[in-house]
Amino acid sequence: MSTYAAEHHHDDHVPTGWRRWVFSTNHKDIGTLYLLFALCMLFLGGASAMLIRAELFQPGIQLLHPDLYNNLVTNHALIMIFGAVMPAAAGLANWMIPLMIGAPDMALPRMNNLSFWILPAAATMLILSFVVPFFPGGGSQINTGWTLYPPLSLQVGMSMDFLIFAIHLLGISSVLASINIIVTLFNMRAPGMTLMQMPMFCWTWLVTAFLLILVVPVLAGGVTMLLFDRHFGTSFFDAAGGGDPVLFQHLFWFFGHPEVYVLLLPSIGVLAHVIPTFSRKPLFGYKSMVGSMLAVATIGMVVWAHHQYTIGMSLGAVTYFMIGTIIISIPVGLMIFNFIATMWRGSMTFETPMLFAVAIILMFTFGGLSGVMLAVVPADMQYHDSMFVVAHFHYVLMPGAVFGLFAGVFYWLPKWTGHMYDEVLAKWFFWINVIGFNITFFPQHFLGLAGMPRRIVDYNVMFTEFNVVSSIGAIIFGLSHLLLLYIVIKTIRGGKKADAKVWEGAHGLEWHLDSPPAFHSWSTAPKAIELTDTYEKPQ
């Protein structure tokens, strides 16, 4: 291995200019591109969310035409899921997986380049789908929500076609990235590192990648059938032609429910590094983490119809989906338990990544428990499609996915840039962000229980007060991300020099490389002594 590296020393030059980024096959550069792309999309998606909350600040229609409002609802979801969270998680994977398993790069570097550069094209299509209706002859806005249920999605103008192609591109990008990650994890691990010795972040991404490959094609098939119904006279989803509008819902949620775990698992992986580091104690229950993750992925694939309790399924079907859904609390509960047990009798300090980790444990538990409530079919007759659902899934996805990514960014930012971030500012960001989030979404539980449906542009005065509170929270929450942007830029530009081992309690191969690591790292395989420095074995 070392001779091989020595022969290829001429590869060590770092390309410069635009070629470095556009033609990049370097996992670190591509990781950076993913993360920057995700940051841009976070602000786009956030801006649409703030417009939604601005409209809902008071009863009446003040700012947005109903179609534009629902177009923003659609765009907010799609941009956040496909533009912000998934690329950010892929960025972390690109950066960290080769460093963590002692590989010189991803297994398929050129495909890596392709899977990133599809994204800006897809984002352009997505943004066009939003912009086109503003032009004469552009047709109507996409007022369907991200679920795109027909027959409503059949009524929409040409912007729906832009959206369908955007989804195809995003799907191709995810599948390519997933293939790359699976091949890398199976073939590029340092000699001597077995699957059951992989850092947990790698395990979470291995499961995520398999989930993506299994479910993304189903969504692609569903939206393709939608496209055919719209333009080629088929009637897959048109009852008048012998089709079935409910079929689309099944296809969509067969993808959509596992997608929740796609968003969640990489962040669980980040937590499995952050919590041991700042508790100065190995991860509790490595094997049960792996087992519960596989269980979540497996059960998560077969409970999709709990998103559709109101379509009139038989008693037998809803009973199955109810029990299956409630059962998911077992592996998820075990994961949360393992994190708490890792903190237990640790020697904790509370740097920003750890603050986010603790917030995730508390808030994700809360969101998970409201999820158990939602799983109960008779009670869901009331919760379904109400603001309660909106509150629930933001409580799962913000802590479960986004806060996990924030934790990961603060945890590894010194490793990537070679500079420590501003800890005081970062803590301010954490507190404003978390408090803003709770003010925004906690009141929405009450709105839903009191009878406010989701996705309405205008509401009765009885719902005013909690909407006001929620919108005020949204302003705090939304603007707090400008602080994140400032901290990230400041860290990239300079700051206290970071050591190779940034955190006192950190273990793992990535901390044996310089901060920032050389352009080509692990071109010789890690030594045995470095390999033993894992979370699984206490030092």
């Binding site: 509790f284 538990t365 109960v376 007759m381 206490p538």
Partner: protein, 374 residues
């Protein structure tokens, strides 16, 4: 600030009320409204049960985490216990924890299942009154199948509904108490969902499907809900208002509706020749309530799903084609068949559409023409 304070006060009330009596928080609008049917009461109870279990678990988890956050910190000089995962607890927790969670899961599922069977399956051994509920963009049609009465129910603009805006309709869904009512849900265009929180009924209206729910209303009152499934532009403007009345009053109301229907039919079939002014006045009123939501009161429509009528080829072209599309609808589009209207109503609407907004064709369509066309 006033909002913030009252908001905070409500949260406090909710948390205090978790273990209290059910009626405490109903008036604060932070929980389900007071149930008005047997199944709604059972659903309310299962909701409170799962919420209490969840709250209890949440308190336990928070207590453990905060204990650990306080005591197991470096600043207190706590040394990490590197062997914690090697204790008996570390070895067996992977089986202990799932077993405990499974116990909680089974408790919830068991209770939920008992309720589910009662509310889900329409009892076939009891006498049922059928009401067909059809969702339209953006109004509800209630068809009392056993009584031959149809009600079209639309939202009332803000000027006339005040504080009940988006919770008030022109024609209410009148239902008798103490009767087993079966709702048959379907849709004429896109997905809708019928939701009245007091009755705890929510079911999607799906074109091509008939789904069913049932309810026995236990108290008189006016119960307000709205469409719960995104159905396009004016999804927010599909309120549902149920007026639960004693059986005798319900039957009297049915008789009244039937009498009104007979009177309208008699007027329509009378061999009267109507003047332009009469038909335009009648037509404007009918158009604005029945057609205006999609084609807009101004006739400009919401293209492309809902085409404009102002200057359109249909509204200014041959009368026969115009009558065809109104009576039979346009398959494959959102345009429904309006053949259920009587001859006079169709004549008025068509006359109005052919002469309003500058469509000055001068055509006068008489009820007799419609009758002949059918």
């Amino acid at each position: 600030m006033r909002f913030l304070v009252s908001g905070l006060a409500r949260w406090v009330v909710l948390f205090v009320g978790f273990f209290g009596a059910g009626s405490v928080y109903a008036e604060y609008g932070v929980n389900f409204p007071e149930p008005a049917s047997g199944s709604a009461q059972e659903i309310y109870d299962i909701h409170m049960m799962t919420m209490r279990v969840s709250t209890l678990l949440l308190v336990i988890v928070f207590a453990i985490v905060f204990y650990s956050l306080y005591f197991h910190r470096k600043s207190r000089g706590y040394k990490a216990d590197q062997k914690f995962h090697d204790t008996w607890f570390g070895h067996w927790s992977w089986i202990i924890v799932p077993t405990l969670v499974l116990g909680v899961d089974l408790t919830i599922a068991n209770n939920a299942n008992a309720v589910l069977e009662k509310v889900w399956v329409v009892p076939d051994d009891k006498e049922l009154m059928d009401v067909k509920v059809t969702g339209h963009q953006w109004w509800w049609e209630f068809d009392y199948l056993d009584h031959g009465v149809k009600v079209e129910s639309r939202y009332v603009p803000k000027e006339d509904s005040g504080d009940l805006y988006l919770r008030e309709v022109d024609n209410r869904l009148v239902l008798p108490v103490g009767t087993n009512i079966r709702f048959l849900h379907t849709s004429a265009d896109v997905l809708h969902a019928f939701w009245v929180p007091e009755l705890a009924v929510k079911k999607d209206a799906i074109p091509g499907y008939v789904t069913e729910t049932w309810v026995e209303i236990t108290r008189e009152g006016v119960f307000r809900g709205q469409c719960a499934e995104l159905c396009g532009t004016w999804h927010a403007r599909m309120p549902i208002v149920v007026e639960a009345v004693p059986k005798e009053q319900f039957l009297a109301w049915i008789d009244e509706r039937n009498a009104a229907k007979a009177a309208a039919a008699a007027e329509a079939s009378a061999d009267k020749t109507w003047t332009m002014e009469e038909l335009m006045a009648k037509g404007e009123e009918l158009y604005n309530t029945k057609c205006g939501a999609c084609h807009q009161v101004t006739g400009i429509g919401l293209p492309p799903a809902f085409p404009p009528l102002k200057g359109s080829a249909i509204a200014t072209g041959p009368i026969d084609a115009h009558l065809d599309i109104v009576i039979k609808g346009q398959p494959g589009t959102a345009m429904m068949a309006w053949g259920g209207l009587n001859d006079l109503e169709i004549a008025a609407i068509v006359t109005y559409e052919r002469n309003a907004w500058g469509n000055n064709t001068g055509d006068l369509v008489q009820p007799a023409d419609v009758k002949q066309h059918r």
